[in-house]
């Protein structure tokens, strides 16, 4: 280095000797002693440079191989090419339609990163209400069911579509040559796309019979309408226009025909406006959800429904006849109905054609047709008549069919004769997406797509179309039902120009049947092409029906087969959420049972949990537990349908062998499905069954938790029933300052809340609330953040003086008709009267209960680690990561709404539900933490939604709008009973409700200052006696 260095490293550098200059050009001036190291003579390592490279190469290779063992690789792969519209963290909403219960019902599908994670109501579809029930919500999990078929099956073994198609076509073609027919048994969905495919199929295979099959039959109504108006239809009912509603055993809010729509219609007139609200009479045998909301509820045996209808018919006519009910209630109903002609509705849950004839003529007399009943734009779903299926069974038995295709139908479960009959058919084909009872006995399973993977157009009401669009690529190798059918006719169903066959077909059907802009209609989710309604001419003859009714022999006792609000007909009975959702009335989860009245329990000497063998007709259920249901009519026994599904072997959780299948008890006398079976016999076979029940104490103990008043008291004073004088609450704490920003609050109207429990399921899905199963619920450990408290109040049947002793408030005088709600009073009364018949007359109230987000929250002060704190917006927040699990907060919560993670509920075989497998976990809401064990959790007022809405507003540089978003519970409520919003916004709905005269805080005397106000319940009833005041 020739430089101006004034320093040098050594004498060599100074002198620039040739050796130095040479060596200085090398990187290592002395050279590396490689030769020496690798070629030493001591036998240690005999290596030269080549060997070094060999060793080096080998070592690297070995290390590389060693590094290749299976340590789990967790990928977080970013989009190489970002799909259009998909941004991580931002949900997309697609308009689609309900996938459960064969109902077309518009809704939105919330999709995150390509995964549908929740259903939300389509608020624009006002005809359908704008809520979703628990079953509709739960159905999303059928998409992520690990027991789904992964592709087409032949004889239970997997195959490919080509092979399946070849074999099926061969089998189908051979039917004609053998002189046999093909049967298509289609589920009662209203899919126009499938119908089109079936039509095309029939053109190709002319020897095809098409049979509609519905699990639950409403043929009584359609047959009566055929006789009355010449149309075998189920009409469209409009409860929103009905001021007086009289129901004879129709659980229209829970299970009858289309409860989601009825619910919201009913709710529209349930809150008193201008001193008026609808008046609801319910005559029923079991205690249904609908009955629990009625203003006047009278127990009635279902077998006598016809005779009671006759009484109403006569009363309206001004004649005498039929069978009156307690308290002249039918006469009373008749008077109210006559006063509300054209604005009333009489419905009946009986599947008896004659009963329905009477209903039709009553509604005709009242002038309800064209107003509250629409036979032109009628209901299209669930119209199958069981006589078709009975005929199919008879034909199949006689060997008529060479092949049967079960399209989206599962009679193997719901019809007792189906399995043995279809065994006679050589080729049985099912389109089930997961193995069900019918698919198990089918030779071919042409696995369909899940509705969320499919295109479809449904017509739930005449002229009303709702659309389904895929929201996820097919998870497995299924194929659209329509494509499958058409493939068998020889059509090429492969994708064309990246568009699936089903899409093209759907578009074709749209243009032919609906018309208009396809894409715009899809985006909206529904199209209404209705015609104006007319008043049909009543052409029926009522006399044969009256004669038939009066000649009917009614049994001493009767068994009523009913549907439960959550599980309904059982088709989607393998989704755990519907089972975990407590029955709105009995609060039993994960079970069906023999529901009996208290007088019957006393007469038979039965107690809750006794096991009974039930025999009705030729079938018996070997053992079913007893549940005593207040409000149930004496002499009636109820068993819910929809249980006892036979699920694949792989199902190991509580869904396996769940409850008893009651479908075999359905009677098919005279070709019509009868759900009321006379004179069942019972035999006690055991005892001690424990229910998973979420509320074990039935009475409200006379406490000021629910406030209520009668309509006339309300009209005199809007704050009737809400004048409770509480001592002024003095607080040691200075109150929170909410003057800036938001202050979240909620109002729950006890009048419009029916207790349907849709909010529970919606909340569970939104907030990743784990499913815990029957055993944990038995231990009182359900995890629901929101529950619905149900309280009974018993009506005294006779006057009594009860001596209760000092500690229970001394002596009490009970007058006839008084309501008793204290355990001790009820017990003392029970001891003092001869019969327990008064157990049939109960008043019910439902009260949603969730975290009240108290300003002076008792939970917040007691947490030693500040895991639960108050936000500046009035939220009581839970910091899961900080929680150490002392559970003191839970103890100190006066509302008992905190839930503790007793176990790890994910990746734990003890809780083998969707949190225990990768497919099921797809439904998890990524915005909400999945809680670990040992931490407390509770309602957060959907803080993730609050945050999302705030951030959206901030991004757009604007203020958060009025009622721009809402919580999962409020959003899904079919009757708008729950309202959430910003109390600092004077125009918000919540601010108005907070000032309502009916608004009150539960347990306000504790001075915890809750952020939830309840609006008192108003009953449309002239209360003659008051509840025992306190």
């Amino acid at each position: 280095m020739k430089s101006s260095n004034k320093y040098w490293k050594g004498i060599e550098e100074l002198e620039q000797t040739p050796e130095f200059v040479k060596s200085n050009t090398n990187e290592f001036s002395e050279g590396l002693p490689l030769e020496k190291v690798f070629s030493n003579n001591d036998d240690s390592v005999r290596a030269n440079r080549r060997d070094f490279l060999k060793y080096f190469g080998f070592s690297i290779g070995a290390v590389t191989l060693a590094a290749c063992n299976k340590t789990s690789v967790k990928k977080a792969v970013p989009y190489a090419v970002k799909p259009e519209n998909v941004t991580a963290g931002i949900p997309l909403y697609y308009a689609s339609s309900s996938v459960s219960n064969n109902e077309g019902f518009p809704m939105l599908v919330k999709v995150r990163e390509g995964r549908p994670i929740k259903f939300e109501p389509n608020k624009e579809a006002s005809f359908y209400g704008g809520g979703l029930d628990g079953l509709a919500h739960s159905a999303i999990l059928s998409l992520y069911d690990i027991n789904r078929n992964t592709g087409p099956l032949v004889n239970g073994g997997e195959t490919d579509w080509k092979t399946l198609d070849k074999e099926v076509i061969k089998a189908l073609k051979s039917t004609a040559s053998n002189g046999k027919s093909i049967a298509i048994v289609k589920g009662d969905s209203t899919s126009l796309v499938s119908d089109k495919a079936i039509e095309d199929f029939k053109t190709k295979f002319t020897n095809t019979d098409i049979i509609s099959y519905n699990t639950i039959s409403y043929s009584g109504i359609s047959r009566a309408n055929e006789k009355s108006f010449g149309k075998a239809i189920i009409p469209s009912y409009d409860f929103s226009k009905a001021e007086v509603i009289v129901s004879f055993g129709a659980d229209f809010l829970g299970t009858w025909i289309s409860p989601m729509k009825f619910h919201s219609d009913y709710g529209k007139n349930r809150v008193p406006k201008d001193g008026k609200m609808n008046k609801h009479y319910q005559f029923e045998a079991l205690m249904s959800l609908t009955g629990s909301n009625a203003d006047i509820r009278v127990p009635m045996t279902m077998g006598n429904a016809g005779k009671h209808l006759e009484a109403l018919y006569s009363a309206l006519n001004g004649t005498k006849g039929g069978l009156e009910l307690a308290g002249n209630s039918i006469q009373q109903a008749a008077e109210d109905l006559l006063a509300a002609k054209g604005k009333s509705l009489v419905v009946c849950g009986s599947n008896n054609e004659n009963d329905q004839m009477l209903v039709n003529s009553i509604n005709m007399m009242l002038g309800n047709y064209g107003l509250t009943i629409d036979v032109d734009n009628h209901y299209m779903g669930q119209t199958a008549d069981e006589k078709d299926f009975q005929k199919f069974l008879a034909d199949a038995e006689s060997g008529k069919y060479g092949a049967a295709i079960f399209l989206d139908s599962n009679p193997g479960y719901s019809h007792p004769k189906a399995i043995e009959t279809i065994a006679n058919i050589p080729t049985v084909i099912s389109t089930a997406i997961a193995m069900d009872e019918t698919a198990t006995s089918a030779k071919f399973v042409a696995t369909a797509l899940h509705p969320l993977e499919s295109w479809d157009i449904k017509q739930p009401y005449k002229g009303r179309y709702v659309f389904s669009q895929p929201t996820i690529s097919p998870v497995f190798n299924g194929r659209h039902i329509a494509s499958t059918l058409l493939a068998w006719t020889g059509v090429d169903v492969a994708d064309k120009d990246n568009l699936s066959h089903a899409y093209n077909l759907t578009k074709e059907v749209f243009e032919a049947e609906v018309g208009g802009d396809f894409n715009a209609s899809l985006e909206k989710g529904f199209v209404d092409n209705v015609v104006s309604t007319s008043v049909p001419a009543f052409s029926g003859d009522i006399n044969p029906s009256l004669n038939a009714i009066s000649s009917t022999q009614v049994g001493e006792t009767e068994l009523v087969l009913y549907q439960k609000v959550g599980v309904r007909d059982g088709a989607y009975g393998n989704t755990p959420w519907v089972h975990e959702m407590p029955d709105p009335v009995s609060k039993v989860t994960w079970d069906n049972y023999l529901s009996i009245s208290m007088p019957d329990a006393k007469a038979n000497g039965w107690e809750n949990g006794d096991l009974i063998k039930v025999t009705a007709g030729s079938y018996s259920i070997d053992s079913i537990p007893v549940l005593i249901q207040p409000g149930q009519a004496k002499g009636t026994f109820g068993i819910a349908l929809g249980f006892g599904r036979v699920l694949p072997e792989t199902v190991k959780n509580d869904l396996k062998d769940l409850g008893e299948n009651a479908y075999p008890l359905v009677s098919y006398k005279d070709g019509s499905a009868g759900y009321v079976i006379a004179n069942p016999t019972f035999e006690k076979v055991g005892e001690g069954y424990e229910f998973g029940i979420t509320q074990t104490h039935y009475s409200i103990e006379g406490r000021d938790i629910v406030r209520e008043a009668s309509i006339n008291a309300y009209n005199e004073d809007n704050a009737a029933g809400n004048h409770v004088h509480k001592p002024a609450a003095i607080s040691l704490w200075s109150s929170h300052d909410y003057s800036k920003g938001h202050h979240w609050g909620m109002a729950i109207d006890l009048n419009s809340c029916t207790g349907c429990s849709a909010c529970i399921v919606s909340c569970s899905i939104e907030n990743n609330v784990p499913v815990v199963g029957k055993d944990e619920i038995r231990r009182g450990r359900e995890m629901h953040w929101l529950r619905i408290d149900r309280y009974y109040s018993f009506e005294a049947s006779e006057a009594k003086d009860l001596s209760l002793g000092l500690v229970h408030g001394g002596d009490q005088t009970i007058a006839e008709g008084d309501y008793m709600s204290q355990e001790k009073v009820i017990d003392a009364y029970t001891d003092s009267v001869e019969s327990t018949d008064y157990y049939q007359n109960v008043k019910v109230v439902h009260q949603p209960m969730l975290c009240q987000h108290c300003d002076n929250a008792p939970c917040e002060t007691v947490c030693p680690v500040l895991a639960t704190t108050h936000s500046t917006e009035g939220l009581n927040q839970m910091t899961y990561n900080r929680c150490i699990g002392t559970k003191y907060c839970g103890n100190n919560c006066p509302y008992k709404v905190r839930r503790f993670n007793w176990f790890k509920t994910n990746n734990n075989d003890k809780f083998d539900y969707h949190f225990n497998n990768d497919l099921g976990k797809m439904v998890i809401n990524p915005d909400v933490t999945v809680r670990s064990r040992g931490v407390m959790e509770k309602c957060s007022f959907c803080v993730q939604r609050i945050q999302y809405a705030k951030l959206e507003a901030k991004k757009e540089n604007r203020k958060l709008g009025k009622d721009e978003f809402t919580t999962a519970c409020a959003q899904t409520c079919p009757s708008n009973a729950i309202v959430f919003g910003d109390l600092n916004d004077p125009n918000s709905e919540i601010s108005k409700l907070y000032k309502d005269d009916r608004a009150y805080h539960v347990l306000e005397e504790l001075a915890v200052k809750p952020s939830i106000k309840y609006l008192s319940k108003i009953r449309n009833k002239n209360e003659t006696t008051n509840q025992n005041a306190h």
Binding site: R779, G780, T861, C863, Y895, V935
Partner: protein
Amino acid sequence: MYQADIRQPLVTGGKTYSDVTEDICRPIENKPTNSWWLGFVIALIFLFILVATLTWTVWEGIGTWNVNKTVMWGWDITNFVFWVGIGHAGTLISAILLLFRQKWRMSINRSAEAMTIFAVFCAAIFPLFHMGRVWLAYWALPLPNAFGSLWVNFNSPLLWDVFAISTYLSVSLVFWYLGLIPDIATVRDRATNKARKFWYGFFAMGWNGSAKSWGRYEVVALILAGISTPLVLSVHTIVSMDFATSVIPGWHTTIFPPYFVAGAIFSGFGMVLTLLLIARHVMNYQNYITVEHLEAMTKVILLTGSIVGLAYITEFVIAAYSGYQYEQYAFANRMFGPYAWAYWTMMFCNLMAPQVFWSKWARTTPWFIFIISIIVNIGMWFERFVIIVTSLHRDFLPSSWIMYHATWVEVGIFLGTFGLFFTCFFLFAKFLPVINMAEVKTIIKDKE
């Protein structure tokens, strides 16, 4: 020491100073007896149950217990309060009775203090393991941390508990150890083998028995007694505040602090009596733990039992008088609800049973006292059970009302704590002088 003739001697049998040393060092210096082994092995078996059930709880989750959405504290906190209560007699005897110059305490204070410490160990298990995430228990300590600005909540009675109990444990431990030093030195001086000489020498901390040492010893003992005295009152006061500061009817009462303290002393003396009666019998210490001692303690039981009983009745009267339906219901429910059996067990054991001590015969008959002491222990466990479970299981909203029954795991943990307690106690009886030799020597009259 001068002894008035009208006073009964506190130590009988004409024991000399040398007898005291011999008698009390005997178990330490000899091989353990068969009865010691038997008791020790049984205690170890129960200790094993404790380890097994706690392991299972931590492994699976608190779900292995039967606590539920409504009754979130069950046997766990019942046992906690039970053991803390038992841990009260020791300090009371050594501190308060020391300040009041009650010389009869001298032959029982050592074992009572040991009992206190072991009981607090047992008690500490419950607040720790009732946590959903016991591995994070240290978060309840105000430790500087790297988690951000995380701090503890000084409003929470559970945090007060952490301080109260850790203070109590450390002061009790120091006090106990201080009292042991002269006796350990005695054992050291008598030691015949190297190991004993080393270990007792180590723990004797160079005690030389000089007047100066004795002078300092007594001053420190007095100071510690002064520090401990408020602790006797404060610990259970604070434990009672776990309940009293809440909103739950049946918990939310201002009577709790004095009532809990009285109850703690009551249960503590009950347990001391149980243990001493066994030790007295097994170790032949009838001359040191005399009937006189037993009688004095039964009087304390009678007094505190009556205070507790008065508190029960006061609570009930105040609830009835309050005009507050939730409060009224909570107490009516205790008496006549589904857990009435527990309430009446408590009433019988705590209020009625000790009243027999009005009779001189009952106070001076050891086997009878033993029975009553067991009844008192049972009664005090039920008191805590009644307060915790019956208040929680039916509080404000009847919709959440529920029943609670323990699982085998909860029962196992409770039984297991007895294993821990007795294991410690047997080891103590084997390795340390169970009676304070130095102090006892001050109250006997050596004729030599």
